[in-house]
Amino acid sequence: MRRLYLILSEGRLMARTEKVLSAKEAVERFMKDGCFVAIGGMHMHNNTMALIREVIRQNVGIGRLITSPSGSVNADMLIGAGLVDELYCAYVGMEHLGLAPNFRKFAESGKLKVRECDEAFVTFTLRAGASSMPFIPLPRGLEATSVPSMNEEDYRWTSDPFGGEKVACLPALQPDVALVHCQKADEYGNAIFEGSKFNDFLMIKASDKVILQVEEVVPHEYILENAMRVDVPAFLVDAVVNTPFGCHPTASHRYYRYDEGHIKEYLGACKEDFDAYLDRYVRGPKDNEEYLEVIGGREKAKELMEGGVPW
């Protein structure tokens, strides 16, 4: 108390570091070639597409990629750009819209190394990583599947030191960097998920560096007034990238829905000329603002919120 008083009385209250960066700056600063990357969101919702597009612009190679657990356009686009060496695969697909064409092509040709897993793997390895457990044993059941035999690197067997039974174990994973979408954050990185939280907070806790892509930067006072709703405290966050409509063509929960027409265009382009797609929508526009112009402007967001917020 005495120390705090002294600091205040001498007028030495220091300004906090603001973490708002452009996508370009954040990717340059926190993503190194060959890094281990975790990407948040689920299916075609809350994918950090503005960051993904920037990774492709900067041509940053990804040594290992993990999705949380259901990857969609985010993983498929990085794979299609030839940037991913290895993928922890619980699911990559477009749900009712079909399979993920680049993922299929690269996995079938052997260009992508698939580390076979499931959603429990993603959850438990990140849970172990988040609390620095050396490894984590799994509940029984997995041994009846083909998954562990397809990925002997990541599944090991030991005996339960209490009961003696054979149990499967997973390593603790601590990705170098997590790319996660939150709808709101202040300039320091205190953030709120306005919809589903998915596995994204677990991913944030497990990862060394965290880049948050947000729909809007809110005043710090908003965070103080809503502390009970804050999901991510600022000290875990390294960069806040303010890119309204940055999840397009996927959804940002309660802000806009996924763009089915664009995802279908993407799926078609994967089968024909994926490079042309990347040139038009990814490498051509220099940032998300220019990307929005290419897809028809912010009016598009209004179209994608037809029916409004669900309550």
Binding site: G93, A120, G141
Partner: protein, 248 residues
């Protein structure tokens, strides 16, 4: 009476398989199981709990039913949980009924979402095993398939994503209990898939021709019971956009 669409017939069959007090869970691409669950709550299982996959939504009201299992419209619900909590329920054997599917399904109820081929030589890469490995920890599971062909219903799956009945393994789960396809309903006898009923306009021989293994056929195979008019009306209320209805 209005025409019954095949997807509605499948949803009504799955709905009847749900019991009051069950906790049900479904994953990606689950418009039909979601429709079935909401219908069950409205007709005979008011205490059914259902969890809409990755969205983490518990008992979504489906106003209206939507196609994606993670859509924000599902968050109009009783609770919305982080996915890691949902995985805990699956691991803890809190789930009474899991809805499953596969690129391949075999006579013992094993499901494959991993791919077609052999280890190291996958010719057709599937999306991945997602939640299916925990089928072995659900009290029972129902398989629904959007097609019924010899390519889907095979003697033995190339890879096991979700285990059906497994020899010599003592898992907490009870195994597969029902299979619903666009042409028939099947269940299990002595841990082998057997025909239970055929949908209107389908013969037993049609099912046999489209199944890649020797299906057990009981002496008496009835026609699948149609949804009542009340059930149909409720389904059209839940699914005004035809998301499930027109998915086949």
């Amino acid at each position: 009476m209005v025409e019954v669409k095949t997807a509605e017939l499948m949803a009504s069959v799955l709905s009847k398989h749900l019991e009051d007090g069950d906790v049900a869970i479904m994953g990606a691409f689950s418009a039909i199981p979601m429709l079935a669950s909401r219908l069950a709550q409205m007709t005979h299982a008011p205490n059914l709990t259902y969890i809409a996959g990755g969205s983490g939504a518990v008992n979504p009201l489906l106003e209206p039913l939507v196609a994606s299992s993670c859509d924000d419209r599902l968050l109009k619900a009783e609770a919305v949980l982080p996915l890691s909590d949902v995985i805990d329920f699956e691991a803890r054997t809190e789930i009474d009924i899991f809805f499953a599917g596969g690129l391949q399904i075999d006579k013992r109820g094993n499901c494959n979402l991993l791919g077609i081929g052999k280890p190291g030589e996958i010719k057709f890469r599937g999306p991945g095993s997602v939640g299916l490995p925990f089928l072995s920890r659900a009290r029972r599971f129902a398989i629904y398939s959007m097609n019924h062909s010899t390519r889907t219903f095979v003697e033995k799956v190339d890879f096991i994503s979700g285990p059906g009945f497994v020899d010599g393994k003592d898992f907490p789960g009870g195994g597969p209990s029902l299979v619903v396809t666009p042409i028939c309903v099947m269940d299990f006898d002595e841990e082998r898939m057997q025909l239970k009923s055929v949908h209107p306009g389908v013969s037993v021989d049609d099912v046999v021709q489209n199944t890649g293994f020797e299906l057990r056929i009981p002496d008496d195979v009835p026609q699948t019971g149609l949804p009542t008019e009340e059930e149909l009306e409720l389904m059209r209320e839940i699914d005004p956009l035809g998301v499930a209805r027109n998915s086949l």
